[in-house]
């Protein structure tokens, strides 16, 4: 503790230089934060996927529906606890750019299969009582300033027409990273409307089934049994774990992971050079002072640790600033309207990624300070004093 003041005054002896270096760190860590947010947005489904859930979809493509008759046959497979289903609606709200996930859902087992989406009992009851009822995620409701009782018009994409819904509930994610941007309405409303309007596509055929298993360890066996049931039928199935399904969904956008890692690596390598150079200059400027400290009795190890501490303090301050701004931006975007909602509906900076960011900042700070710190610790007092 007694050296903290000494560290602080040394750190800010060249205020502009230190602030600029902290700024470089902050910008790099902000970029890291934004990349982590984008990565999370793409992989959000993977992150929150239930280990005890399987997705059953049409083997040809997941937009091809499956017969309703599959429901009971899947439910009868040993090890299956519950089966629910949903259909992708693909509409837009008011304007074509206002796109978010809308799903026609089964009302019987949905809450059992997705316990992380929390809806109050009275709102769920209202959902069951009204054929045109809808429940929206807290995030999307906040974005469009919806409140319970509002009439929500949705322009059909896959299912053409102007669809009207009554908002009767708002669901919340049990965890911060749960998706709160979905819009649910009743599958029965979609199905009945399709029948009444004489359309065939999608009638009595949900888009996919979601299976909750008793024991996740039995998933492989259950997957084989389900797909075996419908082999050689007109609608063969492809069953996957929830996580694998989410991963395949995310990969449709390309290998985001590789792009993010490549960009991040270049940024951090540049940051390493910039900070290393700054620390080297800072140590060179203070050669005489370091020689005096050694003459007084400060050890080589002290100077090594001291220079490293300076470098890591810069990294920590810059890291905190950059990561803090990234967290704030994500929160502000979700609170006051996500401008990227169409592509990245959920902007969230997971705490574990914030910790990784701090770890990277400290590692870069340590690496950047290592060479100058070694120079300081190996300083020859007599030679240094002769140069004064």
């Amino acid at each position: 503790m007694k050296y903290l003041r000494f560290l602080r005054v040394n750190l800010f002896r060249k205020k502009i230089r230190t602030l600029l270096t902290i700024g470089s760190f902050a910008v790099a860590m902000l970029l890291f934060g934004l990349l982590a947010i984008v990565r999370f947005a793409f992989n959000q489904g993977v992150e929150v996927a239930g280990v005890d859930r399987l997705i059953v979809m049409n083997r040809v493509t997941f937009i091809q529906p499956l017969p309703m008759s599959y429901h009971d046959r899947i439910a009868a497979v040993p090890g299956v606890k519950a089966v629910t289903y949903a259909t992708w609606f693909g509409g837009t709200y008011q304007d074509v750019k206002n796109f978010f996930p809308q799903m026609a859902i089964d009302t019987d087992a949905w809450r059992e299969v997705y316990p992380e989406f929390v809806v109050s009992d009275d709102q769920w009851k209202a959902f069951l009582d009204d054929q045109q009822a809808a429940i929206a995620g807290a995030g999307i409701a906040k974005q469009y300033h919806w409140k319970i009782g509002d009439r929500i018009p949705i322009i059909g994409g896959i299912y053409a027409g102007n669809w009207q819904f009554n908002l009767v509930g708002i669901y919340h994610g049990a965890r911060p990273k749960d998706d709160e941007t979905q819009f649910w309405f009743r599958y029965s409303y979609l199905n009945e409307t399709l029948k009444q309007t004489g359309r065939r596509y999608g009638v009595d055929s949900p888009g996919w089934y979601v299976v909750k298993v008793v024991n996740p360890d039995d998933s492989v066996t259950i997957v084989k049994k389900i797909d075996g049931l419908f082999a050689n039928s007109s609608a063969e199935t492809k069953t996957d774990t929830d996580q694998a399904f989410a991963q395949s969904f995310a990969k449709q956008a390309g290998n985001i992971e590789v792009i993010l890692i490549s960009v991040g690596s270049v940024v951090f390598f540049t940051l390493l050079l910039v900070t290393g150079n700054t620390m080297a200059i800072a140590v060179r400027e203070r050669t005489a002072e370091m020689a005096i400290l050694k003459a007084i009795g400060f050890s080589d190890r002290f100077l090594l640790v001291f220079v490293l501490a300076e470098s890591m303090a810069i990294a920590l301050l810059g890291g905190a600033l950059g990561l803090g701004v990234a967290v704030t931006l994500a929160k502000l975007a979700m609170a006051y309207g996500n401008p990227l909602a169409q592509v990245l509906p959920l902007l969230y900076f997971p705490p574990e990624q914030v910790a990784v960011g701090f770890g990277i900042a400290l590692a870069v700070g340590g690496l950047a300070g290592l060479l100058p710190a070694l120079t300081a610790s190996r300083l020859n007092v007599v030679d240094a004093l002769r140069r004064v």
């Binding site: 007694k2 050296y3 003041r5 000494f6 005054v9 040394n10 002896r13 005489a288 002072e289 005096i292 400290l293 050694k294 003459a295 007084i296 009795g297 400060f298 050890s299 080589d300 007092v381 007599v382 004093l385 004064v388």
Partner: protein, 241 residues
């Protein structure tokens, strides 16, 4: 008691025997110190004089454990410093040596108080004890009222007085002064010499000072001339001791 003939008794605080220091510059060997002997008793004020390049600063560096001799031994208060490793030597310096340099060498980002406090950070003293020691040291050098000033806000003489306070604050065994008045005007130089004399007389500090200034040397109890790598007693001045 100051002797350069190698016949000093075992009571010497500082005892140097057969000290050689050789530098290699290019292919040439430069013998800076050759077979140097010295005995200095506790509470002595010794001045070293000699032409530039005669090895005065080298001798001071060796005495302060900043450099290692090519041959010979140096013992201070019974500690044989020439056989110490780098880490032990660092600890020894912190405990036994107070350095005063020509250019003061204060840390510009620290106040006078903080500069003086530096050697105490290496001790286990509490914050309040450190404050007490620093206040006392600044009072001795007459700068109690300037403790919150930065070096840039002080005159050269005041900076050197802060450097002296830093040198004495941990109560070292002896002080090594390398041209302590070399960068000061006569008046400030006299003030610094008065202070050093007082430290020797009133506080019993052993002081070894390198100087080119005869007036400064006259303040010392003994003046030794360094020439061609060897010491010779010049005179017994009517100085401090």
């Amino acid at each position: 008691m100051v002797r350069v003939d190698g016949w000093g008794n075992n009571d010497s605080l500082i005892r140097i025997r057969g000290l050689d220091k050789t530098y290699r510059r290019g292919g040439e060997e430069i013998h800076v110190l050759q077979g140097l002997n010295l005995d200095v008793g506790k509470g002595e004020f010794v001045a070293f004089m000699g032409p530039s390049g005669s090895g005065k600063t080298t001798l001071l560096n060796l005495l302060g454990g900043l450099d290692t001799p090519t041959r010979g031994s140096i013992s201070v208060a019974g500690d044989e410093i020439t056989s110490m490793g780098s880490r032990n030597l660092t600890h020894w310096r912190a405990r036994h040596v107070g350095f005063i340099f020509q250019m003061y060498n204060l840390l510009p980002v620290l106040t006078a108080f903080q500069n003086v406090e530096l050697p105490l950070l290496l001790t286990k003293l509490s914050k309040s004890d450190r404050r007490e020691h620093v206040d006392a040291a600044l009072a001795i050098v007459g700068l109690a009222d300037r403790s919150e000033h930065y070096p840039g806000q002080l005159s050269g003489g005041q900076e050197q007085r802060v450097a002296i306070a830093r040198a004495v604050v941990a109560d070292p065994t002896f002080l090594l002064c390398d041209e302590p008045t070399g960068d000061l005007d006569r008046k400030s130089a006299d003030e610094i010499l008065d202070l050093l004399t007082r430290l020797c007389r009133e506080h019993g500090k052993t002081i070894l000072m390198v100087t080119h200034d005869q007036l400064a040397a006259d303040r010392a109890g003994a003046v030794l001339h360094l020439n061609k790598g060897a010491l010779a007693e010049a005179q017994s001045a009517g100085g401090a001791a």
